[in-house]
């Protein structure tokens, strides 16, 4: 993908290159600071995961320039929240900036509100052809991702304020992974937005993010799911930190592909065809999303198997969640075969991507609702 780094006409200037190095320097010094100050509390895996993040985030930021600003903003907001907390959880209700801006729940609520507004703006832009509305949608989506990411990071810190033995990475229950799902889907979308230079697909992608936010709000308001609950022993593992995010790159990408699939199907019937990008562009985005999703989903499933081998004594035991992960994997494996080797294009593949989302959704939420098994991180 390396030649996509610079879109035609965007010659990397001196300023951008300087920012690249500044970005790397910030990442390096952040990691170094963490190692020096907190290294004694970290085991080998924590250290390894921290160090791996430096090249990983560097690659993402260098390859996709807007990510640098995003990472910096999120880091500053999270650090500000930590500074405001002063190690006392009660300050979440006493400090204005925490209570109404950057404590974890507030930040996630901001994300939720912004997602809805951004969705509206994208649709306004698409239907009325208003460039300004689309720009607004795009900007709001960026802010929503920044707030949501800040929310998760601050939640991570808050969990440790509840008690050092309670603290955990907030991607461990259904509420937290839903936030993660929204963030990853939006980030992937924003990447394709810059990559393809069109904001016209936002209206469709943001619909699925809005649906996820709707679920999230219901889950928090009605079930109190937003409360930090300590981890049961089976989930206390460093594998969580890699297995879950990889999985959600998969879920997010598949959801995005399905929404683009819907756009492609509508365009194929002449609905919004004049406003949406060309069909072959939509198909290309759909392919790219499924490809990246499939690659990460494979990694996630493999990591899950390695974790299962450690926690349950076997890398595969046909637990419903595992089995449905396999079904999702088989589905997209078949999809990719049909496109790459079978040469299939058009509405058929779009339909397939949409149906794929149904399968993915079942694997993601349905299994927890209808089937019993070992993946006990969330029930409805």
């Amino acid at each position: 993908m390396n030649e996509l780094a610079h879109r035609p006409g965007s010659m990397p200037g001196f300023r951008s290159a300087a920012l690249d190095w500044l970005y790397l320097a910030a990442l390096l010094s952040g990691a170094a600071l963490a190692l020096v100050r907190y290294g004694s509390h970290m085991d080998g895996y924590d250290t390894a995961i921290l160090i791996i993040h430096v090249p990983l985030l560097t690659a993402v930021g260098w390859h996709w320039k807007p990510f640098r600003g995003f990472a910096a903003t999120v880091a500053l907001l999270a650090l500000a929240a930590i500074a405001l907390y002063q190690g006392d959880l009660a300050r979440a209700d006493q400090t204005f900036a925490l209570k109404y801006l950057i404590s974890s729940q507030t930040a996630i609520m901001w994300m939720s509100a912004l997602v809805f507004i951004a969705t509206g703006a994208y649709w306004l832009g698409l239907i009325a052809g208003a460039d300004f509305a689309e720009r607004t949608g795009s900007a709001l989506t960026w802010v929503a991702v920044a707030m949501g990411t800040t929310g998760l990071l601050v939640r991570w810190y808050e969990s440790y304020l509840l008690g050092p033995e309670i603290g955990y990475i907030p991607i461990s229950n259904l509420y937290e992974v839903f936030v993660l799902f929204c963030l990853i889907t939006m980030l992937l979308y924003l990447y394709y937005e810059t990559r393809y230079g069109t904001r016209r697909m936002g209206a469709f992608v943001m619909v699925i993010v809005s649906a996820a936010v709707g679920f999230l709000l219901w889950y928090a308001f009605s079930r109190g799911a937003h409360e930090i609950q300590p981890l049961i022993p089976a989930l206390q593992s460093y594998w969580m930190k890699v297995h879950v995010p990889a999985n959600f790159v998969g879920y997010g990408a598949f959801a995005l592909a399905a929404m683009i699939g819907i756009a492609r199907l509508l365009a194929g019937r002449g609905i919004l065809a004049a406003r949406l990008p060309a069909e072959r562009i939509l198909e290309d985005v759909m392919y790219r999303a499924i490809a990246i999703g499939f690659a990460f989903f494979t990694i996630a499933t493999v990591l899950g198997a390695l974790w299962a081998a450690e926690a349950w004594g076997t890398y595969w035991q046909w637990d419903p969640k595992e089995t449905w992960a396999l079904i999702v994997w088989l589905n997209y494996a078949a999809w990719l075969h049909m496109r790459l080797t079978g040469g299939l294009r058009g509405a058929m593949l779009a339909w397939w991507a949409v149906i794929g989302l149904a399968v993915t959704t079942f694997a993601f939420v349905g299994v927890n609702m209808f089937l019993t098994g070992l993946h006990s991180y969330g029930s409805l």
Partner: protein, 687 residues
């Protein structure tokens, strides 16, 4: 002809269409296994599906889909199809990877979707050198073909993309084969060919026949080891269908202590076993604390903390008789969890099966969050969401109800009821009661008998009341005392009438409690007077129980009680408990006096020879997928004609949109270096 059929078969099996069909079949088969719970005891299936479907589903292998023959056949076909596909593709792919296609003719280059022409103003040798440099600088390997009228530079990059195909498809084969080695196929093979057979669960280890024991040398197994505290075990139990096999281990595992730690909210935070492992052959031993997510590897066997159970906690119990006419008899019993004890008295001969003991009984007492959350306006609800993710301090969702135990009482006919008795009292509606749950089968919820504590904090008063109220020989005495107290100055006839009524109420109540009283009122009193009658009857009943209480006080040589609010509440609770005790379904109540807990750890032990193969497959799979999806094979052809014309063509194995862009940049860049006069619209910097 024969050759043709074999060829057709090969074509079919190695075709992508066939592979896709297999993927679909595998997906659907897998769904079945998630819908039907796998590897449950057969009795559970019999209950679930009934006697007609149970054997049908058993034949279809739906209770262990993933080791059913037909499922393995699908897997085998997948392995075969993938292998044949690799075989079929190897030669052409290798050829493709090696070839530069430098013999490509101008005519065929003109067929390319991506092609462009311009003219070159440089000297031919200079131009060729520049093209070759350009190709090299941009990550292409190039080969030059000189022709009479032209020179062709055939360049390619990303040939490794094709190796991804071999890696990924080879990985599938490796994973399937490794998985088969670790599944229960080896065990089933031993059963089929090795004169081994599974036996029924629930036997003593010593009773298990040699034919159901597997030797230490067994190279693939997965089973559970059960070790109570203070004991040791060197046998793992392997479950297969509805039976078990015993796997002998090369070491014995002794458990010193099992630890459970909890968070403040009552959910568990840590499970750990302090183990001592002793090699049977050498006698060498070592200690190890095993935790969840931290397996131990020894002699090629992995040991995991898998669960815990009761390891035979010893209980001291007191049986209080609930039989009418056997006032307040007590009997002390000592037993351990897992024991089956005879329990008989005048009128019954039951067996007591002690099944479970819990030192903590954590109960969810959180108020219904749905209701709580719905209170207040939208604004206050949002307000409540703001702030940290920590729950409000009042939301301590769990409460520890203290020690409790579960037992079954089996009557002479073999019918069993299950009971769940708590040791400590709990506060219910302002009064302290001791809970005892009862149910007829595991499928039901427990119904609770609430025995009230008396003023001394004991149950004894209630049992005395029970003895008096349900002893027919006492009814006359209680009734006449009640009449005397209620109508102190009345004449003989009125008192006799009240005594008779009271006696009748007591007889009715002694039959089936409130139920018979209510039925009597329903059948004999006209509907508009029923409420008044019920009220009267309940007053009489309360008075009667109060009288029984007074008698009990007299008997124990204490002063007669004086009615106050606390006693009135006790009276009401005691009466309700008396009524409920008639539906309790046991001739006695078992009170837990004291216990010594002994826990047991459940460890999973596995030997999985296929693990390394599967892991290798995982690695290849990931490498292969990334290679296939993200290494792009590109072929760039630059035909430099002697007359100065240049033809540029590009081909790619992925028809993605960025190929256009990529091609455009190559053309611009090549034109820039071959034709200095050319100025593109935008500066391009392909890498």
């Amino acid at each position: 002809m024969q050759r043709g059929t074999a060829r057709d078969l090969f074509e079919l099996l190695s075709s992508m269409r066939f592979a896709i069909s297999l993927l679909t079949a595998l997906g659907i088969a897998s769904i079945i296994g998630t819908v039907v719970q796998q590897n449950e005891p057969f009795n559970a299936y019999l209950n679930q599906f009934g006697p007609f479907w149970f054997p049908v589903f058993e034949t279809l292998g739906l209770y262990s889909v993933y080791s059913a023959p037909w499922f393995l056949v699908i897997l085998a076909f997948l392995v075969l199809s993938t292998s044949l596909c690799i075989v079929r593709q190897t030669a052409p792919m290798l050829r493709e990877m090696r070839s530069f296609r430098e013999r490509a003719r101008e005519v065929s280059l003109r067929q390319f979707a991506h092609r462009s022409e311009f003219s070159c103003s440089l000297h031919a040798d200079d131009a060729l050198a520049r093209i070759e440099d350009y190709a090299r600088a941009n990550g292409f390997a190039a080969r030059t073909d000189r022709r009479p009228d032209a020179v062709l530079v055939a360049a390619r990059q990303g040939s490794l993309s094709r190796s991804g195909y071999f890696l990924a498809h080879g990985a599938i084969v490796l994973i399937c084969v490794g998985g088969l080695l670790d599944g229960d196929l080896p065990l089933r093979a031993q059963l089929a060919f090795g004169a081994k057979s599974s036996t029924s669960a629930g036997q003593l280890i010593a009773d298990i026949p040699e034919s159901s024991r597997l030797p230490e040398s067994n190279w693939s197994f997965r089973g559970n080891v059960f070790v109570p505290e203070g004991r040791s075990n060197r046998y793992a139990v392997l479950r297969l269908d509805d039976g078990i096999l015993l796997q002998t281990l090369p070491f014995s595992i002794a458990l010193e202590k099992f630890h459970i730690e909890h968070y403040d909210n009552g959910s568990p935070s840590r499970f750990a076993s302090d183990l001592t492992i002793t090699d049977v052959e050498t006698g060498q031993s070592f200690s190890h604390t095993l935790e969840v997510n931290r397996p131990l590897f020894h002699h090629g066997i992995a040991i995991y903390q898998s669960g815990f159970e009761d390891g035979g906690s010893s209980l001291r119990l007191r049986a209080h008789s609930l039989l009418p006419g056997h006032p307040a008899r007590q009997q002390d019993i000592a037993g351990a969890i897992g024991d089956v004890l005879p329990l008989s008295d005048k009128g019954y001969a039951h067996t007591l099966e002690l099944t479970e003991f819990r030192a903590f009984t954590v109960e969810d007492v959180v108020p219904d969050p749905d209701q709580e959350a719905r209170q207040g306006s939208v604004l206050t609800q949002v307000q409540r969401q703001l702030g940290s993710g920590a729950g409000a301090p009042a939301d301590k969702a769990m409460r520890n109800l203290g020690p409790s135990f579960v037992f079954r009482l089996r009557d002479e006919a073999g019918q069993a009821r299950e009971f769940h008795n708590y040791m400590m009292p709990v506060e219910r509606d302002g009064a302290w009661v001791v809970l005892s749950g009862v149910r007829d089968s595991a499928a039901e919820e427990f119904a609770y008998l609430r025995l009230p504590l008396d003023e001394d904090g004991r149950l004894e008063t209630w049992f005395s009341l029970h003895g008096l109220v349900f002893d027919p020989a006492r009814h006359e005495q209680i009734a006449s005392r009640f009449a005397e107290r209620s109508l102190p100055g009345a004449d003989e006839a009125t008192r006799t009438r009240l005594t008779a009524t009271a006696r009748h109420v007591l007889d009715l109540f002694a039959e089936r409690g409130y139920e018979t009283v209510a039925r009597f009122i329903e059948t004999t009193v006209p509907s508009d007077e029923r409420e008044r009658a019920l009220d009267l009857f309940l007053k009489i009943l309360n008075g009667l129980v109060w009288e029984a209480w007074a008698i009990q006080h007299e008997q124990s040589g204490r002063e007669a009680p004086i009615l106050d609010e606390a006693r009135a509440r006790y009276l009401s609770n005691a009466t309700t408990a008396l009524s409920d005790s008639l539906l309790y379904g046991a001739p006695l109540y078992l009170q837990l006096l004291d216990f010594t807990q002994r826990q047991a750890t459940v460890l999973q032990v596995t030997r999985s020879p296929g693990k390394a193969v599967v892991y290798a497959g995982f690695l290849l799979l990931i490498l292969g997928i990334f290679a296939m999806l993200y290494i792009r094979e590109r072929r760039l052809f630059v035909l430099l004609k002697n007359n100065g014309d240049v033809l540029v063509a590009l081909s790619s194995n992925r028809r993605t949109v960025d190929v256009d862009e990529h091609f455009g940049r190559h053309v611009d860049a090549l034109r820039l270096i071959l034709d200095p006069a050319f100025a593109p619209d935008t500066p391009a910097m392909p890498r």
